[in-house]
Structures are given as structure tokens and as C-alpha cells.
């Protein structure tokens, strides 16, 4: 693992505040995930890939922006690993690297689907850069 990768890995672990080595690779996060088919790297891979320091692969993963932050995986993980937090942490790494070019309120379409949950809109602000 290169130095940078290791540092990133440690940084992610410190951001999430738990030890991803608690993961016992049961796959319940992926099994639970409603957006699994959209993802290239599945949630259950995140814990081991972070531990192994395969951060570059994760940084380029589509998964980061397919995750709905619905927290179903967090709810159901039997090992208190909270995969969504891991994904969020990797995503933060990407966003930090990009600078502060987050989505501005102007970019929000005038007419939003009223069914769209508020949480999803807020999440969108955080997630999608220009």
C-alpha cells in the first residue's frame, strides 16, 4: 500500500469513527442496498478495501454517487460497521480533493418532484459538484 493510500485509509477510518475490521463479510449491507445494481463496487467491499488501502479504486468508483444515503445498511449491519458512513467518508475525500465547488441552489431545478424526500435534496447538495 502506498504511503498516500495508507494515509487516506487512516483518514477515512478516523472520519467514520469505528474500526472497519469489525466487518465479518456477511454481505447484509449489499443484500439490503436498494441501489446495488447501479453500483460498480458493492457496499460490502468497502470495509475490506478501506482496510486494505485500496482507496484509489474506491475514489474512482461510481458507487460513491449512487449511494442514496438511505442508511438501510447502517440499520441492519450486525457488526456496527455502518457501510454508508464509509462510502460517505470516501466521497468526502473526493469532494475535498475537488475543492469547494458544490452544487449551488441555482442549479436546483425550479420544479422538484414533490415526492422527493427532503433528505435526498440535501444529500444532493453535498454530493454533486458542478
Amino acid at each position: 500500500m502506498s504511503m498516500n493510500q495508507k494515509e487516506l485509509s487512516e483518514q477515512i477510518i478516523s472520519m467514520v469513527g469505528f474500526n472497519p475490521r469489525q466487518c465479518m463479510k456477511c454481505g447484509k449491507c449489499s443484500a439490503t442496498c436498494p441501489a446495488l445494481e447501479e453500483m460498480d463496487i458493492h457496499p460490502h467491499h468497502f470495509a475490506s478495501m478501506v482496510c486494505e488501502g485500496r482507496i484509489n479504486e474506491l475514489l474512482e468508483s461510481k458507487t460513491l454517487f449512487r449511494c442514496l444515503s438511505c442508511f438501510a445498511c447502517v440499520e441492519r449491519c450486525p457488526r456496527s460497521v455502518e457501510p454508508a458512513k464509509l462510502i460517505e467518508a470516501v466521497r468526502d475525500c473526493v469532494i475535498r480533493a475537488k475543492g469547494a465547488n458544490f452544487l449551488s441552489p441555482d442549479a436546483v431545478p425550479g420544479k422538484l418532484d414533490p415526492e422527493l424526500p427532503q433528505q435526498a435534496i440535501t444529500a444532493a447538495f453535498r454530493k454533486y459538484g458542478k
Partner: protein, 662 residues
């Protein structure tokens, strides 16, 4: 005044290389009480011990100090030596001048000086030593088994066969426990009832065994060899001696709305019932919470139909008091609560069941008479999904952090039995790991895969929901293929974690036995004393100590029985002589000591004392030396210093402090 001999060991060069042993000998000669001092190459050798024996005889020694290795090494050796020479073994003290001195200090002067100080401390202590005699207590030749499952039955039979009286206390109306609910057993697939019921009958008929079913332990007092136990025999409202088990009442009872616990509430039973056909004792019991007679004062149908006249609505709970020498805890397990796992729809959909429920469905005496049916529509299923580790290996608040150990094997059994009986049913098992350590276990699992085509999929199930076809969709991931699986099925069977039976906490606190964070009873030593609890005279049998399968339970039950027999075989128990003793004239009776005693060894008596001519009745602490393990917690809790510890008395320790600070 003691006549003390000091023996300084060279331990070859281990001590002699850094400690000037001759100087130690010289330095201690002027110490109070010392009338002999000598060094020798190996004190622990035959010759060294003989030297001590000779010196004891020659100099009429009353106390011995050996300056040598750690007392944890050879204290017992030198105590025996002293005993051989005719002095009390507790008149020996060890000054540890090897591990605590010669091995850690390089400077010879420094090490020698320290060795002298350590020797002086030991001498100061011996000066205050008193001969100690291990106490003796009688043993009641009767054992109590708490729990009448296979563990309890097996322990009881083994103890009874060895010739001792045994009582089993079982809180439900029949013995048999969880095993009686099982259909078949792995890995042999023999019928559980076929192997269990003969044992139940044997226990019931054994001349040395008394069964107290529908009973609970009310209180436990006393100590190893001498437990005083109160057992509450709950009112059955049926005269056990008159009831013939004809079951007429059970069929006539009009109150049939309540669930049948034996069938996991998958069907109903009457308010008067016999748990199952082979119940032991085969006697009906009236559930007063459901019985119309108790609720409305009317009905009484059972009374009318009972030809034996066994119904007794006025029966009362009965308290039985009995003395026991040993107690075996065999309280077993229960299925943990799976309702917290709402992703599996257990509470919402009748076709999502636990494995124990499946056992009942598969059993000929079960709610479906042994036919595999969906509980929702009573149709034959086409697909069945098994979900492993529901609540096991789960460190969140919902689950248990441990592996329940038996689920992998019973799921393989279920899968195999279904495929055997209904080859048209597809069986899928979602697993995290398949754990099969055990004789013929892995072979058994492989047979399920290879011969019965059971579909094992690695990956936990994410969620289960009812789909538009009226079937269940299981959403999961095949971790090996790394792909999503959406599987339509008719039934979902959850391998729920097992946990210690409710009520084990109360039992543990009554017995002052400790439990771990999962409520499993703690063993005295995890490897070397696995069937004993830390409380003397209390033994552990079966799942109450940790998850295990039937053969393991039976072997542990046997092991516990052997320990019990070993205890009951003794006429007298020898107790640790280094126990706490209260000074009656100083005791305030304030209860401080009782509160810190981890063994419940202290109680209080009203006793007349003669305090320098003043006679009065006082409340005094009394230590049961058979229970006391000599920790000394009470000696410090006691404000007046009335409580002292033999072998480590206040004065002895203060004398050591004094000697060291000289």
C-alpha cells in the same frame, strides 16, 4: 514466643550469585524469635527438606522462614515438610528472594540488603503466625438439579445411578426441555423423542430421583455440602396422584383461544392441558390465567368430565424445603427475540418462522401433523429459504455477539429432511460461514449440498417482503458471484440466536454464581474447571454455560454429575483455613462485611456475649468458613477491625510493613 528457623536457599547460583546468602543468614540471627539460621544449595531438594526437618527436631522450632523462590512455587512443598516434622503447615512463611530479588537486581550488596529485609518481614510475620486447622463440614448426600431438560435429566440419571438422591426442579409442567420439541437430531437424523422419552421415563421411575415439575427454586441459603433450598411447587389445580393422563379434560375444555407453547404457539391448547403426549409426569395442568372457572367462577367442565376426580380448583402453591450437598444448574436456553429484525417480516408474515417452529411443523405431533405447510394458507411450499445467523454474531443492541453454534448443523438437517421428504421443494440457505467442527459434521453438511442439492448461497439476506404474487421475495447478494439475488420463495426460516433462559439471573444471584454479559453462567476456570461455577458446590450443565449441541450437553451433564458425585462421596469437606473470623467482642453487627462478601459467607446471629463481665445480647457477624475463600474484603469494610483474616491478619501485615520500613 516463637522459635523460628530461617533457611536460606542458594537455588544453585540463581540466588547465591547475586545474594550473599551467608550474610543473610548472619543478619537474621539477631532477629526476634530466630534461634536457628542456615543456608543450603537447594532447600527444596530431599536433602534440603531433611535439613529443615532435622533443625525443627533439634532446635524445637515452632516457626519456619524459607528464603527461596516464590511462595507460588514451593510454599506447598515447605508446608508439607513442616507437617512431616510435626509442626503446623501454616507456621511456614516464604521470603521470595529469587523472583523478587536475585533475579532482578544485579548489585550484590543491594540484593543482599533487600534479601535481608524480605527475610525480616517474613520473620516478623511468622512471629505472629498461629497454627491453622482446615475446618470440616458435613455433606448432605443429595443433589439438586435446576432444569429438567436433557442436561438436567442426564446429570440426574448419572448422579442417581451412582447411588445418590437427586431432585430435579423444572418450571414447566413436564421435563424434557427444548429437546422434546425437536423433530430429528443431527448428524444421525434419529428422532429426538425416540431417544429422549426413554430417558424422561427413566428419570421419573428412578428410585433415587424426585421430580418437581411446575416448580421453581424460591431461595437458596447455605454453602457447599449444606444448601438449604426452598422450592415453590406451583398449584397445578390437578391432583398429580389421581390424574391418569387420560386427557379427556383437555379435549373438553371450552377455553381454546390461547396458544400452545409446546408447538411454539402455532396452534392452540385448552386451559387445562398436558404439554405433549409423552409428557413426564403425564398429568394435566390448569392454566389459571385462561381457565374460565378462575376468570368467571363458572364452567368447571373439566371437573365434571374427570372420572378420577383429580381436578382441584382450591389447590395452593406449596413450599418444599430440602437440604442439598450440591446443585447443578441446567437451566438451558430459549430462542432469542427475532421481532427486532423487522427486515425479515417475522412479525408480519406467518410464512416467516424460526427454526424451532419449523421443528414443530415437521414433527408428526406438531400443528400440521408433520406435513410441511405454509402457515399462511396451509399449502405446500415450492421454495424455502433458510437465513443463518439471525441475531448471532451481531454486536449491535439487536443481537448477540456470540455464535449460537448449533444453527449451521440443524439447518443442514432441516434442508436435508425437507429435500428427502419433498424432493420438489427447492431449499436455499443463505449463510455467512458454515461451521461444522464435530464428528461427522462436515460430512453431514456436504451431504446436504452434494446429495440433496441444497442451494447454499454465501451472503446475508438483506430483506424479505411479500410480493404481488402472494409469495415472499428475498433480497440478498451472492457474495461469491458478487451479484444481487432476488429470490421468490414460499417460506423463510430464521436461524435465531439462542440465549440463556429467562430467570437465569435470579437463579445466579440466589446461588451467588456469576454470569457474563450475555447471561451465560461463568465457569470457575474456562479450561480447567469448565463444569464448576466459581461458587463451591454449584455446577454447570448444558447451554446455561454456553451454546452447545446435544452430545456436548450430554457429556457436560455427565461431567457435572461426576463432580457432584465426587463431592457427595466425601463424608466431610475440608475448608480453606485462611478464612475471615470476627472478634465477637468488637463486632458491631453493622452488616458492612456482609455487603462486600462475594460468597455470601457472612450472616448474623443474636448472641449473648460476656464483654468484660457485662453480659448482653448482640447482633454478631458469623462467617461460614466453608464458604469463605479468604479474600479479606470484609476485614477492611469492618470499621472496628473486628473482622480479621487468618494467615493474613492485620497484625501480621502491619508487622511486615514495620519490618520492611526498619
Amino acid at each position: 514466643m516463637q522459635r523460628i528457623g530461617v533457611f536460606v536457599c542458594w537455588c544453585g547460583s540463581n540466588i547465591a550469585a547475586t545474594v550473599d546468602v551467608a550474610k543473610v543468614v548472619e543478619s537474621v540471627k539477631g532477629e526476634p524469635g530466630v534461634c536457628f539460621a542456615q543456608d543450603y544449595q537447594y532447600m527444596c531438594s530431599e536433602a534440603g527438606q531433611q535439613l529443615i526437618i532435622n533443625a525443627i527436631h533439634e532446635h524445637k522450632l515452632t516457626g519456619i522462614v524459607v528464603c527461596s523462590c516464590s511462595p507460588r512455587m514451593h510454599e506447598a512443598t515447605f508446608r508439607k515438610t513442616a507437617e512431616k516434622a510435626g509442626i503446623n503447615p501454616y507456621m511456614v512463611e516464604i521470603a521470595n528472594i529469587r523472583e523478587h530479588c536475585s533475579w532482578i537486581h544485579k548489585d550484590k550488596d543491594e540484593a543482599t540488603e533487600k534479601a535481608v529485609i524480605l527475610a525480616r518481614a517474613a520473620i516478623a510475620k511468622v512471629n505472629l503466625n498461629a497454627p491453622l486447622q482446615p475446618g470440616e463440614s458435613a455433606v448432605t448426600k443429595r443433589a439438586l438439579i435446576i432444569g429438567g431438560g436433557i442436561a438436567g435429566i442426564q446429570s440426574a440419571l448419572d448422579i442417581a445411578d451412582a447411588g445418590y438422591k437427586v431432585d430435579i426442579v423444572e418450571r414447566s409442567a413436564t421435563i424434557g426441555g427444548k429437546m422434546a420439541q425437536l423433530d430429528k437430531t443431527f448428524p444421525t437424523l434419529d428422532c429426538a423423542a425416540c431417544i429422549l422419552t426413554p430417558k424422561m421415563v427413566e428419570a421419573a421411575q428412578h428410585p433415587n430421583i424426585t421430580l418437581y415439575t411446575y416448580s421453581e427454586v424460591e431461595s437458596v441459603k447455605g454453602f457447599v455440602g449444606n444448601f438449604d433450598v426452598k422450592i415453590k411447587k406451583k398449584a397445578r389445580f390437578v391432583d398429580e396422584n389421581k390424574c391418569t393422563g387420560c386427557a379427556v379434560c383437555t379435549t373438553k375444555c371450552p377455553s381454546r383461544k390461547g396458544g400452545n407453547e409446546f408447538n411454539c404457539n402455532l396452534d392452540n391448547r385448552g386451559a387445562v392441558y398436558i404439554p405433549f403426549a409423552q409428557a413426564v409426569p403425564n398429568v394435566a395442568v390448569i392454566d389459571s390465567t385462561r381457565c374460565l372457572h378462575f376468570k368467571t367462577g363458572k364452567c368447571g367442565l373439566c371437573e365434571k368430565v374427570c372420572s378420577a376426580g383429580a381436578i382441584k380448583f382450591d389447590q395452593q402453591d406449596e413450599i418444599i424445603e430440602e437440604k442439598y450437598g450440591a446443585i447443578v444448574v441446567a437451566t438451558g436456553f430459549q430462542i432469542s427475540d427475532v421481532t427486532k429484525f423487522d427486515e425479515f417480516q417475522y412479525t408480519k408474515h406467518p410464512d416467516v418462522i424460526t427454526s424451532l417452529e419449523l421443528e414443530r411443523i415437521m414433527n408428526a405431533a406438531g400443528p400440521t401433523k408433520g406435513t410441511l405447510l405454509r402457515m399462511s394458507n396451509k399449502e405446500h411450499p415450492k421454495d424455502i429459504v433458510f437465513v443463518q445467523c439471525v441475531g448471532s454474531r451481531d454486536n449491535t443492541a439487536r443481537g448477540k455477539c456470540y455464535c449460537s453454534k448449533i444453527c449451521c448443523m440443524y439447518t443442514a438437517k432441516h434442508a436435508m429432511l425437507i429435500r428427502e421428504k419433498y424432493p420438489d421443494v427447492n431449499v436455499h440457505v443463505f449463510y455467512i460461514d458454515v461451521r461444522t467442527p464435530g464428528k461427522n459434521f462436515d460430512e453431514f453438511y456436504r451431504r446436504a449440498v452434494e446429495q440433496y442439492n441444497v442451494d447454499y448461497i454465501k451472503g446475508m439476506v438483506g430483506k424479505v417482503y411479500e410480493n404481488e404474487n402472494g409469495r415472499l421475495t428475498v433480497q440478498a447478494v451472492d457474495l461469491l458471484a458478487d451479484r444481487r439475488i432476488m429470490l421468490e420463495t414460499d417460506m423463510v426460516v430464521l436461524a435465531a440466536a439462542i440465549e440463556p433462559s429467562s430467570g437465569v439471573k435470579d437463579i445466579a444471584s440466589m446461588l451467588t454464581a456469576s454470569i457474563d454479559t450475555n447471561n451465560f453462567l461463568t465457569e470457575a476456570h474456562p479450561k480447567l474447571r469448565p463444569v464448576e461455577s466459581p461458587t463451591a458446590g454449584v455446577f454447570l450443565s448444558g447451554v446455561c454455560q454456553g451454546p452447545k449441541d446435544i452430545p456436548e450437553t450430554v457429556s457436560q451433564a455427565g461431567a457435572a454429575a461426576v463432580k457432584v458425585v465426587g463431592l457427595l462421596a466425601k463424608d466431610k469437606l475440608v475448608t480453606n483455613p485462611c478464612t475471615a473470623t470476627p472478634n465477637e467482642l468488637m463486632c458491631n453487627g453493622c452488616s458492612s462485611c456482609e455487603r462486600v462478601c462475594p460468597y455470601g459467607a457472612i450472616d448474623y446471629v443474636e448472641k449473648e456475649v460476656n464483654d468484660h463481665g457485662k453480659r448482653e445480647v448482640r447482633r454478631l457477624a458469623r462467617v461460614n468458613s466453608a464458604l469463605c475463600q479468604g479474600c479479606g474484603a470484609c476485614t477492611v469494610a469492618c470499621p472496628s477491625g473486628a473482622m480479621d483474616l487468618k494467615g493474613f491478619s492485620n497484625r501480621q501485615i502491619m508487622a511486615e510493613v514495620d519490618a520492611i520500613c526498619k
